[in-house]
Amino acid sequence: MNRRERMRSFFTVPVLLSVAFLLAVLLVSVFAEQLAPHDPDTLDPASVLAAPSAEHPLGTDPSGRDLLSRLIFGARSTMLSAFLVVLISAAAGIPLGMLAGYRRGILDKVLMRLCDAVLSFPSLLLAFVLVAAFGRGIGNVVLSLGILYVPMLAKLTRSLVLVESGKLYVEAAHATGFGGAHILLREILPNIFSTLLIQLMLDVGYAILDLSAMNFIGLGVQPPTADWGAMLQSARIHVKNAPLVALSPGILIVLTVVAFNILGDGISAYLDPAQRKLPSIKRFKKALLRRDPDADPGSKVLPRTRKAGEEAAHE
């Protein structure tokens, strides 16, 4: 298989569609002000739940606000807060899980029992408690959900580290004289990363849903701020007479979550060299510079006269 074919087989239709969709969502949320036809918060009592028209491409919501504009601004709030939730949980959960799984002993026991304690409550209930303690507002909701996502991620990371620690290559690294930090960060982390990545992508989806639940109760974004979750919840009673109002934020949430999952699978396949269908980043750069997509430096037989160290120096 030459490079062109390999690249074609990585950029499958689902992966390309996901990337395109996520890029579109990203661009729309960045340039919301420029793209939205109307102000998302202007009420128009004269046209409540209007059908799609030239003025309002997707119609209006129960308060007469332009639906398309609200979806465009909602993308910003939804994506940003969901990402932050996952980022907070990853920043705390992955290091804690790695430490617990690698060090074992008393640290592991204490951390895991703490995680069990948090997981034994319904997560939304605990989120209420945390928001009650921190105060309402989207920032505190994001922080609370971020904290609540830590235990699952820590437990997953720990179990992945436990599995990897038992593998021979870790023992061999130990026997070669590498210290704990090197083994943990340079050997174990890259090997569990693809599984973690898939979990993080799933967590983005969960975060969007949990955030919308919090917004619905009124703990998160305050009206009239546009947010897909909040819009879905507030419009659900109109699903019979104005289906577009209720369904459009829901469809966007579903599409975003699915796109993240497909992208996550694609990336994790790329991270495994045995499954990799795309050239590595380094080779990719080289190929671009050379503007010769069929040349493959890896499979070229080097002339015998070339000095041994030379090729490695390119690395």
């Binding site: 061999a172 004289g177 045995a274």
Partner: protein, 320 residues
């Protein structure tokens, strides 16, 4: 026998006991093993499965899980008692003094890193710069017979054959600067021709670099081909030590004799050893081999024989 010059051995193991704690009770895996490895010597450690060979080797590198293993006796490497060394000091011994290669080289290498990078990492550990380490790694790969080294250094482990991967493992051990190489069944996963090449490489190391090697195996063919000296292990003890020729043609311990008689050979019907090895969770009284031994006498059931003139037996075969 009197012309032996007393040279301090590189590694000396005295009365090693390894006791593995498990929820079902303690397993006495090694029960007073004594042996030594001299500089530039290739030593074989043979015995049937479960007799404690691998545990002994891992004890030398302290690779057993320390929270579940209790050691007894002494392991002295160049005058240092390894069992008394703190973990930080042990990290310097691992790799730089004693290195280990494994039965299955594919799973002993990080699947996500190019092999050249993995060898280079060992040089980096020793303080070399990134570029220099990469160059040295390619040189080392060429030294252990990988060609073309510069190109193969960019391969991932799954792209290489078992024999090549075992060469990479050896390259890593050498890159670390080890003086003693412990090879735990290094050729079991390889086919016979590749096996011979790897053994030739190990012998070459000894000639060129003076590396001492401890080969753990249950394959007498490997022993005959490679080892200067052979130690036979049974139920956690070394029961007989001798040169390869002595062990093969003039073994003194009944277990060694039975073991050699059980190897399938052309024209000779192999003889199985009756009975089964002892349960290592139990205390063994007397000689561990007594219940299966053809020369067993009353004394063997009560007293544990100490090694005398190579064989730990009260009634060894007398050499002509």
């Amino acid at each position: 026998m009197s012309d032996r010059i007393p040279v301090a051995p590189l590694l000396s193991v005295q009365g090693l006991e390894v006791n593995i704690q498990s929820p079902k009770g303690a397993v006495y895996a090694v029960r007073g093993a004594d042996f030594e490895i001299r500089r530039g010597e290739i030593c074989g450690l043979v015995g049937e499965s479960g007799c404690g060979k691998t545990i002994t080797a891992k004890s030398v590198m302290r690779l057993n899980p320390e929270d579940r293993v209790v050691y007894g006796g002494r392991i002295t490497y160049e005058g240092t008692d390894l069992l008394a060394l703190p973990e930080a000091g042990m990290c310097k011994v691992r790799g730089q003094q004693i290195a280990m290669i494994f039965q299955d080289p594919l799973s002993a290498l990080d699947p996500l890193q190019r092999v050249g990078k993995q060898v280079a990492e060992v040089y980096r550990l020793r303080g070399l710069g990134r570029r220099e380490a990469a160059e040295k790694a390619v040189e080392m790969l060429a030294d252990v017979g990988i060609s073309p080294a510069a190109e193969r250094a960019r391969a991932y482990p799954f792209e290489m054959s078992g024999g090549q991967l075992q060469r990479v493992m050896i390259a890593m051990a050498l890159a670390a600067g080890a003086e003693l190489l412990i090879a735990d069944e290094p050729t079991t996963a390889l086919d016979v021709t590749v096996q011979a090449q790897i053994l030739a490489l190990i012998r070459e190391l000894r000639e060129k670099r003076g590396t001492s090697v401890l080969i753990i195996t249950h394959d007498f063919g490997v022993v005959a081909e490679t080892c200067d000296r052979v130690m036979v292990m049974y139920a956690g003890r070394i029961v007989e030590t001798g040169t390869a020729a002595e062990i093969f043609h003039a073994a003194r311990h009944p277990y060694t004799r039975d073991l050699i008689a059980s190897i399938p050979q052309k024209g000779v019907k192999p003889v199985a050893i009756p009975g089964a090895p002892p349960d290592l969770r139990e205390v063994i009284r007397g000689c561990a081999y007594a219940p299966r031994c053809c020369r067993v006498q009353e004394r063997c059931m009560h007293e544990t024989p100490e090694a005398a003139d190579g064989a730990a037996c009260f009634f060894p075969e007398v050499r002509p």
